[in-house]
Each structure stands twice: as structure tokens, then as C-alpha cells.
């Protein structure tokens, strides 16, 4: 829907100039989202910045001439839209304005020249075509034509196998921890099922120096960075070894060592924070970016819009990764937003954007890898919308069969499973076989059960941790409250859990 809208936005800027689009669309239904084209070239939205299949990454530049100078933020966006290459398929993106006044009559509003038109045309809310979805692997795990990207060609066996290994581990974590919650051993859990590729492939494409500001369905980045199964279990049990000292609900992981900022339940709050983090990286001239993850529902919050706008205006190295999994608890995306999803919001804020198939690990990998390079070398934000599906219930407090059909869930779990799809590709490369699979699953299962058993037996954090860290130093009111509480505990030990050391 918004393709058209964007086109028109472009057209205002481009006058009657022509822009390119890609021709290698392959229509594939993404189920809940309706029909979305698959596009096999990494391209930012508007198709003006695209990475040609097989081309060298260092030449990843806007097509056409390079900037004459580092332009002002707004003008930069403007200029960048002015690069064009071909006239292919322009009809789809061609402006609706057929009568535009001559350039010399352009109105010089603050913010750049805007041409006049005598046509009273309203920008359409409905695009002719939806923004296509970049992918590399088809449903069978076969690379589709055109998609011999350099990043993928350079993906070593070692990294690819680690990716697969982590995706399986994530899947098994979900099975085992979910079961532990059902047994009442932990109080709450959120699965990542169906979103393993977004988690692991994006993590693989980033550097450990990149700061992660997660939502709650991205434990895979921690896993990739070396968070151990025991560390996950420690948090879930809220024991003494939990980095968060047992204060937060399960799945609110965080690791300073792994540059993964501790999860907060309130939705979208991490997004503007990520822009501040990115600004600091920019000021320090770090070879790193901020990466923040969020769901489709989260894009409705004011913080999302604040963050995109700040990021564009401040020109910071940041990647916004939206996991559009079709649902926000029981609310489907049709009731969450209109127009063509998340990706089209990027250009509205002046940000390069791309839509990828979130169930295609290689596409996610290539897109994030490329986005990272742009974000850091050009000091600019990038928005990635990864289309996927939330295969699990929202959380252990939810029963999603109350609001969505079971076969829809089954379809995504079985036919569109991102782990199986990636496995086929790894197998076809001769890097993986059934024996490896069996061995991996056995070993992960053993490690997981052990992690749970050990974590469960570790005592809770000591009582002093109830009062510490509220402030950098304990203020007098808390000092007094701690003293009083200890006296109360002495009087009524039966009121208090025995596994919290005094």
C-alpha cells in the first residue's frame, strides 16, 4: 500500500526524474501478511541503494555519483534520493503528478525546495505494490538465482555450522524451559519459536562490540555471544548467580560483558535509548553500532516514532530490527497499523530500510551484515523489517488458540520452519548430516537438563540485594528499612522463604 505513497513522496523530490526498481521479484505468500514479493537482491527501500548480487562489498555505495560533500542531514536524504539509474518498471513508482511547474518557480520553504503543481492530488494510502521481501533461500533451503552475495559466499563452514548449532540450541532451550515452567519450577517463560533465524543470523552478522538493546524475544543474540545455558537457567530461577540478582521476572536477561543491555518489560522503551547509545558510539568514533530489536506491536508506541526520528536527525550508527511476527499478544497486525507494515515507515523518517524474510537465515545475515556496514561507515540509521511468525503462545500466561487458528500455527511451525530451512542449506553444502544432528541434540539436551538442575539448587540472592542498587549507595531510608526488616524476619521466620540467605 505504501509503496505508492512512498513513490509519491519520492516524486515530490525527484520531479520527473526516474528511479529504478528490481525486476527479479518472485511472488510468495507470507501467509498472515498477504502477498509479499520476494526479492533476491539486498536493497534498501526505494531501491536506490542496492547491493548487486556478487558485487564487491566495498563498492557498496549509492548507485550513481557519490556525494559531492557530506550534506546536511535533511539535504543528504534529499540528495540521496536523487541518484537514479534506470527507468525499468518505473510505471509502478512513477509519480502521479503529471503537471509540475518549472523549477524556477519552486517554493523555497525552509527545509529545501518544493516544486508547485496545479494538480490537487492527494497522496494515495494504497500502494500499487507492497515492498518486496528480500530472501536468499527458498523454502527448500536452495539458494535462489541472483543471490550469490559476497557475505554469503564468505560465510565459512565454521560460522554456518555455529549458526545452525545455535538455532537448534535455541529451539531446545524453548522446549526444556517451557516445560520447566509448566512443571512450576520457574514462574514464567517466553519462547522464541519461529524466530530462531532472526535471532541467530542477525547476531552472527554483528560484532560483539555492537550494543544490543533487546525486547524479550531475542535470547539468541546472547547465546551467539557466549551466554551459557547455565547463565540462562540462573536468570530463569532468579538465583544467586543471576546477573540481575533475582529481581526481575524470568527471561529478563542482560549481560554487561556481552554488550546486551538488560531487558525491561515496558514495550518500546529501549528504542530511543538505543539512539543515545548510538550517539555515544558516534562521538567516540567506535567501529560499532547500536542494534535494537522489537516486535510489530511495539511500533505503535510513541517511543518507536521518537526513536526513528531521533536516529535520522542525529545521524547515528544504529540498526532497528523489527520482528514482524504478525501478532502482539492477541492483536493481529491489521489492528495494529495500516499501510505496508514497518518498512515503509523508515523513509518517512529519512532512513534506509529493507524488508527481509525473517525465516531465511541467510537473508537476515546478509541484510544485517550490510546494514551494519552502512550504519558504521556512513554513520546513519537503518531499519530492517523481518517478516516472520510467532509460533509459540505470547508467553506462558497466554493461550493463543483462543484467538488464532491452530492450523495457522502448525503451518508456520512445520512448513515455514526457519531452522529446518537453514539445515537443508547447511546439509547441501556437505557441512552437516543426520549423525551430527543426533549428536548435537543429545548433547544440548544433556547440557540443558544439567543447567536446570544446577541452577535450581543454587540459593537465592542474599537479602542485602533487595536494598542494594536502588541507588549507587544505600541511602538512610533503605538502611533503616533493612534493619527493621531483619528484626521482623527474626520475629516471624515462617513468613519468609528459607532459600534466601540472610
Amino acid at each position: 500500500m505504501l509503496v505508492r505513497t512512498m513513490t509519491i513522496l519520492l516524486s515530490i523530490r525527484l520531479s520527473s526524474r526516474k528511479i529504478i526498481t528490481h525486476q527479479n521479484f518472485q511472488s510468495k505468500s507470507l501467509g498472515f501478511l498477504g502477498l509479499v514479493n520476494h526479492n533476491s537482491s539486498v536493497s534498501s527501500y526505494s531501491s536506490l541503494f542496492h547491493c548487486k548480487a556478487g558485487s564487491s562489498s566495498s563498492t557498496f555505495m549509492p548507485i550513481g555519483e557519490s556525494y559531492p560533500h557530506k550534506p546536511h542531514a535533511l539535504l543528504g536524504t534529499l540528495y540521496s534520493f536523487l541518484h537514479y539509474k534506470s527507468t525499468e518498471a518505473q510505471n509502478q513508482l512513477e509519480p502521479q503528478y503529471t503537471h509540475e511547474d518549472k523549477d524556477d518557480q519552486a517554493n523555497d520553504f525552509p527545509g529545501g525546495k518544493v516544486s508547485f503543481t496545479s494538480e490537487m492530488t492527494f497522496i494515495s494510502e494504497t500502494p500499487v505494490k507492497r515492498v518486496p521481501c528480500f530472501r536468499v533461500l527458498d523454502d527448500n533451503g536452495d539458494p535462489i538465482t541472483y543471490s550469490n552475495y559476497e557475505q554469503i559466499q564468505q560465510l565459512s563452514k565454521e560460522v554456518a555450522v555455529k549458526m545452525y548449532n545455535n538455532m537448534v540450541t535455541l529451539q531446545m532451550m524453548d522446549t526444556v524451559f517451557y516445560e520447566a515452567q509448566r512443571q512450576g519450577r520457574i514462574s514464567f517463560y517466553i519462547t522464541t519459536m519461529g524466530e530462531e533465524a532472526i535471532n541467530i543470523a542477525s547476531a552472527a552478522a554483528l560484532s560483539i562490540d555492537d550494543l544490543i538493546l533487546p525486547q524479550y524475544r531475542e535470547p539468541g543474540i546472547l547465546l551467539w555471544r557466549g551466554f551459557t545455558l547455565k547463565e540462562f537457567a540462573d536468570q530463569l530461577f532468579g538465583n544467586q548467580a543471576d546477573h540481575g540478582k533475582g529481581r526481575q521476572m524470568p527471561v529478563h536477561y542482560g549481560s554487561n560483558k556481552l554488550n546486551y543491555i538488560t531487558i525491561s518489560s515496558p514495550i518500546a522503551t529501549q528504542l530511543p535509548q538505543a539512539v543515545g547509545v548510538a550517539y555515544s558510539l558516534k562521538m567516540d568514533r567506535k567501529d560499532a553500532c547500536a542494534v535494537t530489536y522489537f516486535g510489530d506491536g511495539t511500533t505503535s508506541e510513541g517511543d518507536f516514532h521518537a526513536a526513528l526520528n531521533f536516529a535520522a536527525v542525529m545521524e547515528v550508527p544504529i540498526i532497528f530490527i523489527c520482528r514482524n511476527n504478525g501478532w502482539a499478544i492477541s492483536t493481529p497486525t491489521e489492528e495494529q497499523f495500516r499501510s505496508d507494515g514497518i518498512v515503509v515507515k523508515g523513509p518517512a523518517y529519512g532512513m534506509r530500510s529493507i524488508r527481509v524474510d525473517g525465516n531465511d537465515a541467510l537473508a537476515v545475515y546478509a541484510a544485517v551484515h550490510t546494514a551494519r556496514r552502512m550504519a558504521i561507515s556512513e554513520q546513519r540509521p537503518v531499519l530492517i523489517e523481518a517478516l516472520t511468525y510467532r509460533v509459540g503462545h505470547h508467553s506462558t500466561s497466554d493461550d493463543s488458540t483462543k484467538y488464532r487458528p491452530v492450523d495457522e500455527i502448525e503451518y508456520w511451525k512445520k512448513s515455514r520452519n526457519p531452522v529446518n530451512r537453514f539445515r537443508r542449506w547447511v546439509e547441501k553444502n556437505g557441512w552437516w548430516n543426520d549423525e551430527d544432528e543426533l549428536e548435537l541434540r543429545n548433547s544440548v539436551k544433556k547440557q540443558l537438563l544439567q543447567a536446570i538442575q544446577v541452577a535450581e539448587r543454587i540459593p537465592k540472592p542474599p537479602l542485602a540485594d533487595l536494598f542494594s542498587d536502588v541507588y549507587a549507595n544505600l541511602p538512610s531510608n533503605l538502611h533503616e528499612q533493612e534493619k527493621l526488616l531483619r528484626e521482623t524476619i527474626k520475629e516471624h521466620p515462617q513468613d519468609y522463604p528459607s532459600d534466601v540467605p540472610m
Partner: protein
């Protein structure tokens, strides 16, 4: 697990005593006589919403995930019954929900907005504090959004951690122009919610989510309202006055029962409406008992207990026989593992009753 035990302890208390209506005022006795069905708190809220939509064609119910019944099932069946024009999901945006509700209410409608958890009301703080609360005043009463009611589940549940446990009532009690109401039981919830919906002022209605399923009592099926800004003495006594609201009252009542065994007679008051609050009822009680204890789950510092304490000192200084005591949450974020330590437990209250009486 500790939290599980704690949860069980609490449910046991609730199930074993159930309703406060044994010691109700005459107004409530009347209601109870018109016999109703045994209902839990979320079903009582659901019934109130049904009645609100039924009796006023200009009433609307909306919020995150309300269409399928809401994450706490309070809106079950409403969309089917009244259609999706009147009961609907909103995008995930609290400031949007409240702002939208203000506009809807300003057009002469009953806008009944749900915020999924009180912990997530903060993005809407500006709309509530600067907008809803001042809509009437700033326009010289040309406009008002009195038809707005914001429902939000609040308080501890045993395993909610920082963001599924908070009691943010005090923030809103600092805002002239809105009312803040907290029910303690299913029967109260239904009657108070209907009053809030029909009150000509914007109201924030905090529902004790721990009680959604656990608190069960007879709730008359008909349409009834309970008065706002009227506190209720739910247990009469002569030695000390206890003031609370919402879920905390059941804990306080346990303390009263135990104190009685030690020969201390406690008077327990449910404030129900926090602003504008019924000072007279509390004042009269404290003048009789000479002692006051206030208890709430929210952190003690800057909690609404402080306001009650200050007001009563102003009005009853010479009648007080002991310092006013507050047994409240600690001045920490609401913690997960440490929840049993954070909470204003029965024994904390009981000890404070004893030391106040023996002051």
C-alpha cells in the same frame, strides 16, 4: 518455590474468609439481600461492563487485546455482544488509548479504556495528568471529559517482578481533576466501576489483579452503584483504626482477627475512593480509637498513606495517643525473588498494631 508458597498462603486467606459483606454497612446489606450469584472479581467487572454498554448506547470499551476478552478476561463476550464498533482492540499505545478516550469522552460518550497493567500506564501519564485532569478547568467548563474511565489492574501477584506488580495510585492522587478508585472485592468492584463510568469526572480505576480469580462473593445481578468518596467501616473496633484499600484490606483484616485474639479491638476502614477521599469517616474513627495505622503495597515514601497521616494529624492531633503508623511497601522497585520481604505482611501489621496500642 517461595513465591508459590506465598501465593498459596494468600489464596488460602482469601478463600477462607471470602467476603467482607458480613460486616457491611446497611446500604450494602440491602444489595446483598437482593441475592446474586457467586462471582469472582473479573466476572464482576465483566458484568459491570456488560451493564454499562447495555444501559448507555454511547458507552465504548477499548484497549490492548480487549476484543478476545483481555489478558485477564474482564472483557470476555463484550465484542460478541455489542459489536466491534463499541468494543475493540487499540494499537499498542497507552498514550493513544487515553488521548483517544479523552476525545471520545469530550463528545459526550462513556469512554471505558483499559490499560493492560497499571505498570504500563506511565506512557499515558501526560494525557491523564495534563489533559484529562485539566480538560474541564482550563476551558472554563466549556468542555469536559468526564465520561472517561481508565481501568488498570494493579498490585502484587506473587511472581510479577518490577513490571507486573506496581501500585501507582499515589502519582494520580497528586492530580486535582481526576478521581482514583480501588475496589476490594467482586461486589464492590461492580458497584464502584458502574459509579466511575457514570461519574461526570475522569476516573482511574485500579483493579486488584491478585483478586481477579481468588476473591469470590455473592454479587447481585442487577444494575447497582456504590457511592464514590465514601469510605466504609468494614469492621468496627475501639482501640485502633486501620485504613487501606484494594487487595491490602484482606491482609489487614487477618491482622485485625489476630489482634483480637490478643484482646485488641481494631476498626478497619476501606477508603475505596482515594481522591477526593472521605476524611470525615477516618477522622470520626480516629477520634474514637485515638490510633491510626495505614497500609498499602506501594513504597512507603510519598505513598498515599503519607497524605492520610498528615491530614489526620491536622484534624485529630489532641486525640492521638500514639504516632500514626504506616506499614507499606519498601522504598525499592518491586522485586521478584524478594517479594515476600517487600510486602506489608499480616505480621508486620500485627506487630505495628501491638506497638501502637502499647505506645
Amino acid at each position: 518455590m517461595a513465591t508459590a508458597l506465598q501465593r498459596f498462603g494468600r489464596s488460602f486467606i482469601l478463600i477462607s474468609k471470602r467476603q467482607f459483606s458480613n460486616s457491611s454497612t446497611s446500604c450494602e446489606k440491602k444489595i446483598a439481600q437482593q441475592s446474586g450469584k457467586s462471582l469472582n472479581l473479573y466476572s464482576a467487572i465483566n458484568q459491570a461492563l456488560h451493564i454499562a454498554l447495555e444501559t448507555d448506547p454511547r458507552a465504548y470499551v477499548f484497549g490492548e487485546d480487549v476484543s478476545f476478552g483481555g489478558v485477564f478476561r474482564c472483557t470476555t463476550g463484550l465484542a460478541d455482544r455489542f459489536g466491534k464498533n463499541r468494543v475493540f482492540n487499540t494499537p499498542l499505545c497507552e498514550q493513544g488509548i487515553v488521548g483517544f478516550g479523552i476525545g471520545l469522552a469530550a463528545m459526550g460518550n462513556r469512554a471505558i479504556a483499559e490499560i493492560q497493567f497499571a505498570d504500563y500506564i506511565y506512557p499515558a501519564f501526560d494525557q491523564i495528568v495534563n489533559e484529562a485532569a485539566k480538560f474541564r478547568y482550563r476551558s472554563g467548563n466549556q468542555f469536559n471529559c468526564g465520561g472517561l474511565t481508565i481501568r488498570a489492574p494493579y498490585g502484587a501477584v506473587g511472581h510479577g517482578g518490577h513490571y507486573h506488580s506496581q501500585s501507582p495510585e499515589a502519582f494520580f492522587c497528586h492530580v486535582p481533576g481526576i478521581k482514583v478508585v480501588v475496589p476490594r472485592s467482586p461486589q464492590q468492584a461492580k458497584g464502584l466501576l458502574l459509579s466511575c463510568i457514570r461519574d461526570p469526572n475522569p476516573v482511574v480505576f485500579f483493579e486488584p489483579k491478585w483478586l481477579y480469580r481468588l476473591a469470590v462473593e455473592e454479587v447481585p445481578e442487577h444494575d447497582y452503584m456504590l457511592p464514590l468518596s465514601e469510605a466504609e467501616v468494614i469492621r468496627e473496633g475501639s482501640d485502633i483504626t486501620l485504613v487501606g484499600w484494594g487487595a491490602q484490606l484482606s491482609i489487614m483484616e487477618q491482622a485485625c482477627l489476630d489482634a483480637e485474639k490478643s484482646g485488641i479491638s481494631c476498626e478497619l476502614i476501606d477508603l475505596k475512593t482515594l481522591i477526593p477521599w472521605d476524611k470525615e469517616t477516618v477522622e470520626a474513627s480516629v477520634k474514637k480509637t485515638g490510633r491510626l495505622l495505614i497500609s498499602h503495597e506501594a513504597p512507603v515514601t510519598g505513598g498515599f498513606g503519607a497524605e492520610i497521616s498528615a491530614s489526620i494529624v491536622e484534624r485529630c492531633f489532641l486525640r492521638l495517643e500514639a504516632p500514626i503508623t504506616r506499614i507499606c511497601g519498601l522504598d525499592t522497585p518491586f522485586p521478584l525473588v524478594f517479594e515476600p520481604f517487600y510486602m506489608p505482611t499480616k505480621n508486620k501489621i500485627l506487630d505495628a498494631i501491638k506497638s501502637t496500642v502499647n505506645y
